[in-house]
Amino acid sequence: MSRKYHVTATVNGDECEFLCEAQQTLLDILRDELMLSGTKEGCGTGDCGACTVMVDGTMVCSCLVLAVETEGGRIETIEGMAKGDQLHPLQRNFLELNGLQCGICTPGILIAAKALLARNPDPTETEIRYWLAGNLCRCTGYDKIIRSVQAAAKEMREARS
């Protein structure tokens, strides 16, 4: 059996420990060890964005991050997006504006959109489209995804002002 490494990190605010093989990705560990299967694998090569998570405040494809690299890291996944009963405005707007069809790309897109709005609370349509260009969706044609992000951004701006 190949050697396993001990890693300590926080996931959605909770401290957690896991053992991983050297070649295992953060995505492998999230899904198969930590049972956080909300993060999806669409390609395993960083091309589809379905596995998007935040590590130390940076948006990453978790299939391209080795799990051992996250020692001491702060990991945020879709499971941590709602606060108690309170959905994030992005989650709520995706529901209300039909920003999802099958839903497989949705967790990655929500994480990516949240990262966008943290940097740019008032993005143009073009800025949203380019920011989300790393997140493939095959169902929606993107229209209602973009509108959901725009609506959430507006709501969040209004809540702040």
């Binding site: 190949s2 999806k40 989650q91 999802l100 839903g103």
Partner: protein
């Protein structure tokens, strides 16, 4: 004919609807925005093993022997399976093809064809074990292109194939079938034409491109009970076919559908599922197999590539007098392209009398194709709508007017024998002609194109159950899969029938033990057919609720009516009783007769054909040949939009899939017959920055054979897309492309030609 329909759909144009036509949040949505929804790969069972498949690196090779001994000896490997573990089924039968596609038998027929599989305690061990399997191949010459595959002397994939539809075909051939479908007299029709246009087209295979790779978990007990969890559009079809190729009793296998991360037709047939079952049976532990994206590209899907020749004639007044086509469909290594849809649908929407088509289905050394929205139709409509556009130009007629002049209407007898009932093609064209996009000037430097499309829409075998809970809320058990929101649309119809809020209804998708057979979730049939079955179930439940009310009141059954969620006395003669709600009646089911439910199974007929027209503005970069989609409008008849936001979503998603097919998506094969772009990086699907907002206009010409008038909206949105874009490019650069994808190098070449002709 055993087909049945809802005897009286009860369609009433004037009925005031409270729920149908609104867009409530879908009940399954919350789990999808929080990460809770369980898709194919999201089942984790105690003791579960990882399954991996060894695939042929050769496009065509005899498999002389497979040595699995070293893999079996590797610590952590729990089972290895090969062709020897599959029951023998004669080649050339449907079961014979299915079993050979699941696991190569005599020969590997394409790059990526499964050859062996292992399951082990970890993915790393499973991958290592694959490397220890020794396969002795005798590599054969291969053929990728269908036209090459038709030529004498081409490498033959299947020695048993004799071309169906050709008299006296006695030699092995790659041509599975020649299909002739004609009506009227095309010679007479062309003789009456003032202008005839004939063009040749080719389209490339594209992948369905669902973001969720196929994934399944199989378990098997010592006494032969099988449980299969998988993402599928067709649990019952999987069950029936799996039992056929694995020789299992149907009652001993239960297929449970997960949430499905996109299918678009690509999850109507299985791949790793029988392999997982055999591994689980050998290992006596649960086995999960999740395909990699590389495997998805090399060995699942895609859509048929085509070659076509289309010829049409028109009179100066715009009357189309004849249409003729010759079509070649590549089906991959095995038959199953559904190419017969193409000659039936390609010209259907125009009221033609004289049509002649000849179609061929051809095997070559590529993965067996699978369904995709409106299987095999968009590829050939790409040509038809190009010719129609050219006819309009040549006689100086507006392209929508030409289509209106020839639009099929109620009473038209189609080439496939159906006589149209009420249809909305004319209304769709009129709406397009009136819309702001079509009436806006074409911006400087851009080209505008339009194209029309048709799909039959489908019904078929469907089952469902509606249960009334004791508090009056409703649970639905649905046999079809939910690909994009059918649970909410069907719940809405149930709520409308019962006169209760839709929040009181919850639907689940059944496993194969819970309902009778359901046909595949495909062809835009689900909201239509399952909708009918659930409406029928609701009406049965209402009859039962009324009986219970009669029992409680001590009056005859006919003395009770049901209206807006309440049972009421039918008249004052019956007596004075306060109306009783479903909840009040449900609370008394114990003293009456027990649980109240409605159940229905039908082979649903009465699907209403769908029509659409797309308008697109493009700009072509003169330096690079890149196409920019500037504006896009989908106009389509939904019959009735049960949930308008979701209908718009179907229109938009279909159009953008078509944009990918039009501009980028294709398979590259090397000289060695291996796919060279088996990743999302190299197989370029549209991303958010490639496309604009997609405008939609929902036309509603009701289908009276459905209780709420709906037709089905999933297929039509992709049918005219590539043609519309090609027509727009033609308007922009002066030459209408005839080959997909319309990629930059091809367009640069066309622009050079156009300049040579003094155009562009």
């Amino acid at each position: 004919m055993t087909a049945t329909i809802l005897e009286n759909s009860g369609y009433n144009r004037d009925k005031k609807l409270k729920i149908v036509g609104t867009s409530p949040v879908k009940h399954d949505g919350l789990d999808k925005v929080t990460g809770r929804a369980r898709f194919g790969a999201d089942l984790f069972l105690p003791g579960m093993l990882v399954g991996k498949i060894l695939r042929s690196p050769h496009a065509h090779a005899i498999i002389r022997s497979i040595d699995i001994s070293a893999a079996e000896r590797l610590a952590g490997v729990k089972a290895v399976v090969t062709r020897d573990d599959f029951p023998e089924i004669k080649a050339g039968t449907p079961g014979g093809d299915m079993t050979r596609n699941a696991m190569a038998r005599e020969k590997a027929l394409y790059d990526g064809h499964p050859v062996a599989a292992v399951c082990a305690t970890s993915e790393a061990i499973a991958k290592h074990a694959l490397k220890l399997i020794k396969v002795d191949y005798e590599v054969l010459p291969h053929v990728i292109d269908p036209v090459e595959a038709m030529k004498p002397g081409a490498p033959v994939l299947h020695q048993h194939v004799r071309t169906k539809g050709i008299k006296g075909a006695d030699q092995p051939s790659n041509v599975i079938e020649r299909l002739d479908l004609s009506m009227g007299d095309v010679a007479k029709g062309f003789a009456a034409a003032d202008v005839i246009v004939e063009r040749e087209y080719d389209t490339k295979p594209m992948h369905q491109g669902y973001i969720e790779p196929q994934s399944c978990v199989a378990t098997a007990t010592e006494d032969g009970q099988i449980e299969l969890w998988c993402c599928t559009q067709a649990p019952w079809v999987y069950r029936d076919r799996l039992t056929e190729i694995l020789k299992i009793d149907q009652a001993k296998i239960r297929v449970t559908q997960s949430e499905m991360g996109g299918g678009f037709g690509g999850k109507t047939g299985f791949y790793a599922e029988p392999v997982a079952i055999l591994l689980a049976r050998k290992a006596k532990r649960p086995v999960k197999i999740t395909l990699t994206r590389n495997e998805v590209f090399r060995a699942t899907g895609p859509v048929s590539g085509t070659r076509s020749r289309v010829k049409m004639g028109v009179k100066k007044d715009g009357t189309i007098t004849a249409a003729e086509a010759e079509l070649i469909f590549q089906t991959g290594a095995f038959t199953g392209s559904m190419f017969f849809n193409a000659p039936q649908a390609m010209f259907t929407r125009y009221n033609l009398e004289n049509v002649k088509t000849v179609s061929y289905e051809v095997v070559s050394n590529r993965p067996k194709v699978n369904s995709f929205r409106a299987p095999c139709v968009p590829q050939v409509v790409f040509g038809v709508e190009g010719v129609v556009d050219e006819l309009a130009r040549k006689i100086g007629m507006d392209p929508i007017d030409l289509r209106l002049k020839n639009a099929a209407t109620e009473g038209y007898k189609t080439i496939y024998g159906e006589t149209f009932g009420p249809i909305g093609f004319v209304e769709t064209l009129q709406a397009a002609k009136k819309c702001e996009h079509y009436n806006s000037p074409v911006p400087e430097g851009q080209g505008r194109g339009v194209a029309a499309g048709f799909w039959f829409n489908r019904g078929g075998e469907t089952t469902g159950t509606l249960n009334v809970a004791t508090d009056g809320s409703i649970t639905l058990i649905l046999g079809t899969s939910d690909v994009a929101g059918s649970r909410i649309s069907i719940s809405m119809m149930a709520a409308e029938e019962l006169g209760i809020p839709v929040d009181k209804v919850r639907a689940v998708m059944a496993d194969t033990h819970s309902l009778g057979f359901n046909r595949v979730t495909a062809g835009s049939r689900t909201t239509f057919a399952t909708g009918i079955v659930i409406v029928d179930s609701a009406r049965k439940a209402i009859t039962e609720l009324s009986k219970r009310a009669a029992q409680i009141w001590g009056v005859p059954e006919e003395g009770v009516t049901f209206e807006d969620g309440y049972c009421r006395p039918a008249s004052s003669n019956v007596g004075t009783f306060e109306p009783m709600s479903i909840a009040q009646i449900a609370a008394k089911t114990t003293p009456t007769h027990g649980a109240i439910a409605g159940h229905s199974e039908m082979n649903v007929t009465g699907a209403g054909p769908g029509f659409g027209l797309h308008i697109v503005d493009v700009e072509v970069d003169k330096e690079t040949g890149r196409v920019d989609i500037k504006r896009y409008t989908v106009v389509e008849d939904a019959g009735k939009a049960i949930h308008p936001l979701q209908v718009e979503g179907q229109y938009q998603g279909g159009a953008v899939q078509g944009i990918g097919w039009a501009l980028n998506e294709e398979y590259y094969y090397g000289e060695d017959g291996r796919m060279q772009n088996a990743s999302f990086l190299d197989y370029r699907m549209p991303v958010a920055s490639d496309v604009p907002m997609i405008d939609t206009e929902i036309v509603e010409v009701p289908n009276p054979r459905h209780p709420y008038g709906l037709r089905g909206v999933g297929e039509v949105p992709v049918v005219p897309t590539m043609a519309a874009i090609a027509n727009a490019i033609g308007a922009a650069i002066g030459i209408r492309p005839q080959s997909l994808p319309m990629s930059p190098p091809k367009l640069l070449k066309l622009m050079d030609e156009a300049r040579g002709k003094g155009g562009g």
